[in-house]
């Protein structure tokens, strides 16, 4: 009976008010997303009507002739993001594991701070670094690539420096701090009891770490998807190093293009209605692809949770089997 009647009354209206307030903010998010979708659809109608579904599989992007297709941009966006993720994931996980499990205590805070600092660098700065440092370095690498490799479709083309490889590398550098920071928080949140249980069963340090990673796998997957989302939408740094040539090519050395980059590049000067609509439709395509990818990652998480509901049991098996 600690509460006075007044205190009780205040709690009486404060709770619903808080609920309504936070609820309104949550509804606002939905409204914003629906609003974005509505505007994208509305402002791309000309292009949607004219090209229909072929917009998704046409390779031509010709503003002069008024002929537009999104395939090279879809390809470039997905290819660069997947490559970036492949490069970034091991590094980011390594950083996260080191920081949460192995790092000496005095180094932990400074290292974590530096990782987070990387995330705050504006992308234009990354882009300029890409033009003046990364691209020449990639070019040197290309010049010294053995001819046997150059003959394969993955490494064909002249050494230009700018291109898919430079874009994937710069994206990886930009994605790493995001993924590493979130993954570290996840690992830190793994209960000490889990580790203690592993050690009690005679697990080595390596096995205990595997257990912790396994325990936090859902959160870590979330961290990876966050990085992927960042890579999909990154614009400025990518456009400065990818070469901006709309083509569907496997080669890491070939200049290619992305959806976000073509919008940033051409929107300001697009005065013709169809051209503008086609650019907005690229935005719509990017929106839909992002929705699908987020949905897929949700599905993946849902399956993980469903297949192995007994979290405590499963991890213990791992060190034993190892």
């Amino acid at each position: 009976m600690a509460l006075s009647p007044t205190g009780r009354r205040r709690a009486g209206w404060a709770d619903p008010l808080f609920r309504v307030g936070t609820g309104a903010v949550a509804v606002l998010v939905i409204a914003i997303v629906v609003g974005i979708l509505a505007v994208l659809v509305n402002d791309s109608m000309l292009s949607v009507r004219k090209f229909g579904l072929s917009f998704w599989r046409t390779r031509v992007w010709d503003p002069v002739a008024g002929d537009f297709g999104a395939l090279p941009f879809i390809w470039g966006t997905l290819y660069s993001s997947v490559l970036a993720l492949l490069i970034a994931m091991p590094v980011a996980l390594g950083i996260a594991i080191f920081l949460s499990e192995l790092c000496p205590r005095w180094m932990r805070q400074p290292l974590a701070f530096l990782t987070e600092l990387l995330a705050a660098i504006p992308s234009i700065v990354y882009g300029l670094w890409g033009i003046f440092v990364l691209a020449p370095a990639v070019r040197t690498l290309q010049v010294h690539t053995p001819d046997a490799l150059r003959g394969t479709p993955f490494f064909s083309g002249p050494p230009l420096g700018v291109g898919m490889l430079a874009a994937a590398l710069i994206l990886a550098v930009m994605v790493i701090p995001f993924t590493a920071t979130v993954a570290r928080e996840i690992l830190k949140a793994v209960p000490v009891s889990q580790r203690e249980a592993a050690y009690a069963l005679g697990a080595t340090r390596w096995e205990a770490i595997r257990l912790a990673v396994h325990y936090g796998r859902i959160g870590i997957l979330g961290a990876v998807m966050l990085g992927f989302g960042r890579a999909l939408g990154e614009t400025m740094a990518v456009t400065m190093v990818i070469g901006n040539n709309p083509q569907v090519a496997l080669s890491l050395f070939a200049p290619q293009h992305t959806m976000a980059a073509v919008i940033a590049n051409e929107f300001t000067e697009a005065a013709d209605a169809l051209y503008l609509n086609a650019l907005v439709e690229i935005g719509l395509v990017l929106f839909l692809i992002t929705v699908v990818i987020n949905g897929l990652s949700r599905f993946l998480i849902w399956r993980m949770v469903r297949v192995r509901p007994a979290r405590v049991v499963a991890p213990v098996k791992v060190p034993l089997a190892a």
Partner: protein, 369 residues
Amino acid sequence: MNAILRQTGHVRALAILVVTAVLSACSGGQTPPSGQASPALPGQGAPAAGGADQINGAGATFPYPIYSKWFSEYTKSHPDVRINYQSIGSGGGIRQLTAQTVFFGATDGPMTDEQLKSAPGPIVHLPTVLGAVVPVYNLPDVTGDLKFSGPLLADIYLGKVKKWNDPAIVKENAGVKLPASDIAVAHRSDGSGTTYIFVDYLSKVSPEFKQKVGVATSVNWPVGVGGKGNEGVAGVVKQTPGSIGYVELIYALQNNIAFGAVKNKAGAYLKASLESVTAAAAASAASMPADFRVSITDADGKDAYPISSYTWLLLYESPTDKAKGKKMVEFVRWAITDGEAYAKDLGYAALPDSVVKLEQDALGKIEVQ
């Protein structure tokens, strides 16, 4: 216990997510030159109106340095006139002027008949200064300036001339030892008046280029890599031996980038300079159409640099706000006379006198009473 710990973990992860999202949003916001977020859709986003007497304009980025100089100088002598200019690109300027969200526009390529028709009223083109586009290249072993003809540049950008020692290049550059390396072609990836001027010239001198590529601020390039902005193209060229690109004359001058000479219609090889650009304007002044929508690329005259162009301010012939219209007309009169003195220092070529005279007459016809 476990559940609670997990909960806190989630909350923390969420907090990090929010923080990182905010950070990335901030970093996005710190890059206004890219114009990612700022260019408004038609019908919205008029530049923030300050005082009641503020005149808002938007458009081309190429003349932005001289326009901002003009506006600040003019306000010093005319404190009652405040002009706010957003350099969002020519296309954006035309869109906003047509939607009447700005009082005046600015463009590097004249409006098309179709665009003029879709505007709510007749629009006047007012030339202000001139610029030029120059070919830049990176051949470490070549000393001295390379020479290009228009058709040669067109063939390089069509991907037909692939090697530096191609007979077509050797023919223009007798005595220069050219390497047998591939030509790496660089062009602008962003829609740009610079591209417009360059492809306008190439289309005039090469029927094949006109048919395959055409003229616009963004085109479908058959070959090459796209660099964003002048700095993007210059960056690629600087770091790639055997490359060729094109940038604005001002950019090449300010950054000490070597550029080639181009053969003009009279057959003379000229390097772009403020004088040779003004000469191109003077040569075509006699045939200036009444609406000033003229392309002066490939101009006549042996002193005329062939890849030159005007840049224009756009005003409604009968502005809705007569008081602002009057102020704007007075400003343009000042800009094309006294204001031209600032052009040279900023790397722009001044209008020829004959064009200034024609424009004075045109300004008199704008209905501001």
